[in-house]
Point group: C2
Chain length 492, copies 2
């Protein structure tokens, strides 16, 4: 893509002044419009070292209300970031509705830098390109506007600027040996970066290459591309809103039905169960230790019918995990802060650290269950979610080296009724049963169909569903622990 750009373009003072004043006003107004329309925006500024990333960022924010944007200067990963999958640190910084997130350098620079410094680098960014396009597409699908700039200068121009910076005591410290090294390899990286940009230049997150030799021309081009694009996207957005209903055809993942009723279920007595569990406990202890030492994270998802025994099952399972190495995340309806973000945001935020377990008590599958059945999201949203969830889980596994196992706690409709009645009559358990449980029960068939589809469409090799037949709670507890052990073992 780079070749077609003319790096000698300059702009005179008069033309610059004349062009910029109205442009700045338009950007100011656009920010308010975006806020009023609740549209989140991501602006990425990338480019060669010394091409003017900081300068351009400063210029953009001159026209913005600082209360409505966040600026993220992307640098080396912190401890917390390093302990989680690559895209995590960017996911958590995605803007809430109506806000602008500006990234001065971003996932692009980091993917490149971390790839370059890793051992056995094959000069291909295939995996990174996949992770990034999934990330950008998912955000775009949820309504985020993404605009990306690459500031392009020649090697000679870069050399001039780096030498200039070295002469200035206020900027000399910015010019590190690795920046010079990158400079000397300009020709080596050129085709790589060119390809990286070309492969991530999509309709939903387009790149704008800015010929950045002349300061004024750079600012003018960044501003005008930004303003024009935002205006275009706002117009497209309002058009889309008006013709709502006309849905795009969504590619759903293939169906791979999961058997929910097994005849091979045993009933255990409490004593049998305790014997079995204490044997498994020793195995689990060792595996837990190995995960910790090798810094491998592990996600366990619990879904299931009301009264299927999720709480008790989680409590028992948790006893076999090093308490300093896991977190249980009770998931209920999103709070008002969470609902300002992409629906996956609140789950990704709580990804386990390297070497830790995260147990999600209900999860992102709410999208294709309660949100689907109760109509909390549109049909196209939950239809799209199967693919989004598979992608998210795949990316998690690929980029963290960790594992996921998902439990569906199955009970029969009769068993549920029996348990509801028991709960109502036991003063210690009454708190567990609410009006909502009865209302959900009335919709059993709708939920039943949603569960079937969920299991079939998201049962993947990297993140399998395991049905836990839970009519007998002792059997269920033993099976859960066994399955965790089996999947951790496979991973090691």
């Amino acid at each position: 893509m780079f070749e077609k750009y003319d790096l000698t373009k300059i702009m005179d003072d008069a033309a610059f002044e004349k062009a910029m004043t109205p442009m700045k006003e338009r950007l100011s107004i656009l920010q308010r419009t975006l806020r009023d329309l609740n549209i989140p925006v991501i602006i990425v500024i990338e480019g060669w070292n010394a091409a003017g990333i900081t300068m351009s960022t400063k210029e953009i924010i001159q026209s913005l209300d600082p209360r409505g944007f966040s600026l993220h200067a992307t640098d080396k990963a912190t401890d917390e970031e390093r302990a989680r999958p690559f895209m995590w640190r960017f996911w958590i910084k995605t803007p809430s509705k109506g806000r602008i997130a500006l990234f001065a350098r971003s996932w692009y620079s980091r993917a490149l830098a971390e790839k370059l410094s890793s051992i056995g680098w094959k000069k291909t960014l295939k995996d990174e390109i996949h992770s990034i396009t999934v990330f950008e597409r998912q955000l775009s699908d949820s309504g985020v506007i993404i605009i990306k700039f690459f500031l392009h200068i020649s090697k000679d121009e870069q050399k001039t600027r780096l030498l200039e910076r070295e002469r200035n005591p206020l900027t000399a410290w910015l010019v590190t040996p690795s920046i010079w090294e990158f400079h000397h390899n300009y020709e080596t990286y050129f085709p790589l970066i060119d390809e990286f940009i070309e492969k991530t230049d999509t309709a939903y997150a387009p790149w704008h290459i800015i010929e950045a030799t002349d300061r004024k021309y750079t600012i003018y081009k960044v501003y005008s591309s930004l303003v024009k694009n935002l205006e275009k996207r706002i117009a497209a957005d309002s058009e889309e809103r008006s013709k709502k209903g006309k849905q795009k055809n969504i590619d759903k993942p293939p169906k791979n039905p999961v058997q929910r009723r097994s005849s091979a279920i045993k009933s255990y007595s409490k004593e049998e169960c305790q014997d079995l569990l204490s044997n498994l406990q020793i195995e689990m202890l060792e595996l837990n230790y190995l995960l910790f030492k090798r810094k491998i994270p592990f996600i366990i998802v619990y879904e299931g019918w009301d009264a299927a025994g999720k709480g008790g099952n989680i409590t028992r399972l948790a006893r076999y995990i090093n308490p300093l190495g896991y977190n249980v995340l009770p998931v209920s309806a999103p709070n008002d802060y969470e609902s300002q973000h992409h629906y996956l945001w609140r789950f990704i935020r709580h990804y386990p650290k390297a070497g830790h377990f995260a147990i999600y008590d209900r999860s992102w599958y709410g999208r294709v269950m309660v949100e689907r059945v109760e109509g909390f999201c549109s049909e196209s949203e939950w239809q799209r979610a199967y693919q989004e969830i598979n992608e998210m889980e795949q990316d998690y596994v690929d980029s963290s080296g960790g594992g996921i196992v998902k439990f569906w706690l199955e009970i029969s409709k009769e068993e549920q009724l029996k348990r509801f009645h028991q709960r109502e009559h036991d003063p210690l358990k009454q708190y567990k049963i609410t009006e909502e449980d009865w209302r959900n029960r009335e919709k059993w068939d709708l939920y039943d169909a949603a569960v079937d589809e969920m299991l079939a469409r998201t049962n993947t090799p990297h993140a399998p569903w395991i049905v836990i037949e839970s009519d007998d709670k002792w059997y269920a507890r033993v099976k859960t622990l066994k399955e965790v052990i089996r999947h951790v073992e496979e991973l090691l």
Copy 2:
């Protein structure tokens, strides 16, 4: 405190079993009661190395529903934590209403470890004791139950255990050279830790010294102290609720009235203002650079009348700060997640990193303004807040080495009316004026009195209030920048 404890206590199996079964049940039920009453709980487990901190933690959580507690294993600070004041990492982990936060080691171990490893250590923990007691008292005042355990073993017992751990391949890696070093200095640290505990043993956050030689006795003692204390505190809490109204006498900070109306206000033309600002800009640039290099954080608080020009003033000020080095935090009513925590929690969370600015657009002063005037908190709560805020700001300055400056943007009641009318008639500004603004204006006198009291009681040497006379917006902008420069200079 240590001397009076008998470290030879042991417990036999039968007595242990008999005592523990009902105790575990009581703890389970207590957790639910606490959740129903919306009471947050902090449990701290400290002790000598190898005294059984992990073991005791594991035992406690056996009886807890993992969905209702978080376990924090306190270790060395992460990058993010190191870049902020000492107590920040603990503040952000305080439990929301109805949840339990368990700290396996805590601010006590970290204060000691960081003190011990710092240069010029004078073997006094005076500053830490002050920070910690303020932290615990403020949380307790807001309704958090705090219970602290110290597991006490003798030097000989510790040696036996460390040697045992070294022999076991699964635990050998836990015994680091620094743990042995600490062991060899047992006698040196003994009086220091003893004093530390004694000075932080308060009615609102009591210590329980546990004779931890015998495993069973340790567990029994931890459980029984925990259960008894929680039961006592719940009883006291419900008693307090019933006799609400009977308020404790609150020590309010002295009044130090602040002049809000100055006769020395100039009016600037836009041109004069721009000249002045561009001179100040150069100064600011250099100061900004120095703060960054020396890793000193700086907080700027904006409060003021509606329409006093906070937004414009912040936008202009922000232009003179390195955009990669500041954050503007727009503060509105707490969201439902934030309101589950101490009222200072959401502000402390956003403390600036070392070398950065944080600009709070409205702040914790909402407690003594809008929450006071609108009755969103009780009188005793806002009365107490003056001291709490002073303490928070003092602790911030002391422990971060940073600065705080607070701006009160003052306009006259007539000027406000004029601006309200202007806003109503300007289509570009209409969005800025709401029904609420008019309602607030009706309560001008109530707010006026609240402002006077706020300024007088929280104008401290470490976090001064600066009145910005804002009838002339150009004057206001110049004065704000000047004051920021003056205070940053004083700090350097």
